[in-house]
């Protein structure tokens, strides 16, 4: 299915979603996430593969990004949720896609996004007792010296 067709189908079901300017991503409010996840997992869209979860720190907000892929229909979807930078919280998708378990742990580890009802909410790449969230823009590592900008 084409991206526009997918969007029209989703818009009919969830009137509150929107398209992001400049990209083909779909933006949903964070309360909708679980319901939205269950809907796109089943027919007619069959997004059976949660391919990638990540975040972008835009200082005034944090963009949470999910990339889905459908094996039978071979189409993909980029989903975004805008979160506030102070103590961002969102429901976990690990009950629907098992791959979300590690991908969400990584996002928590590097960005400090808390996933509610996550089966294993620990850090994954950094040591378990690490302080701070390294990929936040306001994070400063103890011995990090930035290269001079060109």
């Amino acid at each position: 299915m084409l991206t526009t067709e997918i969007f029209d189908l989703l818009k009919a079901k969830f009137p509150r979603i929107a398209k992001e300017e400049g990209t083909s991503a779909v933006i949903i409010p964070k309360e909708l996430l679980l319901e939205f996840g269950r809907f796109i997992k089943d027919a007619p869209l069959i997004f059976d593969d949660l391919h990638c979860v990540t975040a972008i720190d835009k200082k005034e907000k944090i963009d949470l990004v999910y990339i889905f892929y459908s094996n039978p229909l071979q189409h993909s979807l980029t989903l975004k949720i805008y979160l506030g930078p102070e103590d961002p919280k969102v429901e976990s998708l690990a009950a629907i896609w098992k791959s979300a378990n590690w991908l969400e742990r990584e996002t928590y580890d590097l960005f400090g996004v808390t996933f509610l009802n996550h089966p294993d909410p620990r850090r994954i790449l950094n040591p378990y007792d690490w302080k701070g969230y390294p990929l936040r823009k306001n994070y400063s590592a103890p011995n990090f010296i930035a290269k001079p900008k060109l």
Binding site: D49, H51, C52, T54, V65, I67, E106, L110, I124, L125
Partner: protein, 376 residues
């Protein structure tokens, strides 16, 4: 026996116990630590601990220009550097909306497929080593890999971290006479793959050790977002080179081998077949290699317009994705690496559960994980 003082039957009992496998274990292919909960010989639970090789590439990328980051991609999946260079450069070219020349596309296909063979050779060699076929298959595989590494050495001057594919093309054109060498290698390699079949694939001991071990069902594999040969071994025909052809893959004829059961042997067998298909692709690419300039002249500093791009390529280990966000400056605002091994390792606890402790090495070896790209 007298001092044991066993009065009743309830005094004799078995106990679950925890052991740590790794991070220095030789068969964990790097620094992977598995915390195993055992009941005798059976594994009840497995918790992987990763991050021992975490070098924070994603943070470092924010302080490097787009070109400066290419050598870092070499160190992600260090046995398939060409494929990593390719994935990154294509993501940046997507962001820049830069078209490259036909010759560059063909050269990229040739080096990427040769590197796929080299990577699969290590995968099957170490897998056989993990099963206890000590040294012989590994040395055979390294003998063949050496020929590919020599070809790469001639092409770009490096033997492991190539840094050959650049934004806008490749570092330099193919040297004179290398086509002949690659053609000779294809002929040589074909006979050697037949030799592997004879030596290893249908070997009774090998079959007994790898058949019906670590069964990965199709739906579980998809749910864990497993990709690459591991997914295809479970019977899912998904290959980006066919489904969403990039470069010039749509011009070549090749099959996508798939497995039947999704056991360790199938995962091995898919890799063997993929090497044959890669040889086929390289042969066709060499036959129709266009003349011309392999590089587009671009500046050293690239400043893509603000926006984002996500690009996936089919790596030897699965689908490697680069998610790049640009804010219009010479540095990526955010660079996310979606490493295939990361998701492939996440399924390991599922496979190891209720397996025998002796099969752990077989299962993790057949998944062909690489810690360099998991920890990043």
């Amino acid at each position: 026996m007298a001092d044991l003082d066993i009065k009743e039957k309830k005094d004799i009992f078995t106990e679950e116990f925890l052991i740590n496998m790794g991070p220095q274990h030789p068969s964990t292919h790097g620094v992977l630590s598995l915390e195993l909960k055992l009941d005798g010989e059976m594994v009840l639970e497995c918790t992987p601990h990763i991050g021992y090789l975490h070098r924070s590439f994603e943070k470092l990328a924010e302080n490097r220009t787009y070109t400066q980051f290419i050598p870092f991609t070499d160190r992600l999946d260090y046995v398939a550097s060409m494929n990593n260079n390719l994935g990154y450069c294509m993501a940046v070219e997507n962001l820049l909306k830069l078209d490259i020349t036909d010759r560059a596309k063909y050269i990229r296909v040739i080096v990427a497929e040769l590197n796929r063979i080299a990577s699969h050779l290590i995968a099957i060699g170490t897998f056989a080593q993990d099963l206890g076929a000590f040294a012989t298959p590994l040395f055979y595989c390294f003998r063949e890999r050496e020929k590919i590494v020599d070809i790469f050495n001639e092409i770009c001057g490096n033997r492991l971290t190539y840094n050959y594919i650049r934004i806008g093309g490749v570092q330099s054109d193919l040297p004179k006479g290398i086509e002949e060498k690659i053609k000779n290698f294809i002929k040589y390699m074909r006979s050697k793959i037949d030799e592997y079949d004879w030596l290893l694939t249908y070997n009774v001991i090998f079959l007994a050790r790898a058949k019906n071990i670590g069964l990965l069902r199709k739906d579980i594999a998809i749910n864990y977002s497993v990709t690459g040969p591991n997914l295809r071994a479970s019977g899912v025909k998904r290959d980006l080179r066919k489904d969403r052809p990039y470069l010039v893959y749509d011009k070549f004829e090749f099959n996508v081998p798939v497995g039947v059961n999704g056991d360790a042997w199938d995962r091995y067998k898919v890799r063997i077949e993929e090497m044959r298909q890669s040889l086929k692709i390289v042969e066709q690419a060499l036959g129709s290699l266009p003349q011309g300039d392999p590089t587009v002249k671009t500046g050293r500093v690239h400043k893509p317009a603000a926006g984002e791009a996500y690009f996936r390529t089919e790596n030897p280990r699965g689908e490697l994705g680069f998610y790049i966000v640009s804010d219009g400056s010479a540095y990526p605002y955010r660079l996310k690496i979606r490493a295939p091994s990361f998701s492939n390792l996440a399924v390991l606890p599922e496979l190891i559960k209720d397996a025998k402790i002796a099969d752990i090495v077989c299962i993790s070896g057949s998944l062909d994980i690489l810690m360099g790209e998991i920890d990043r």
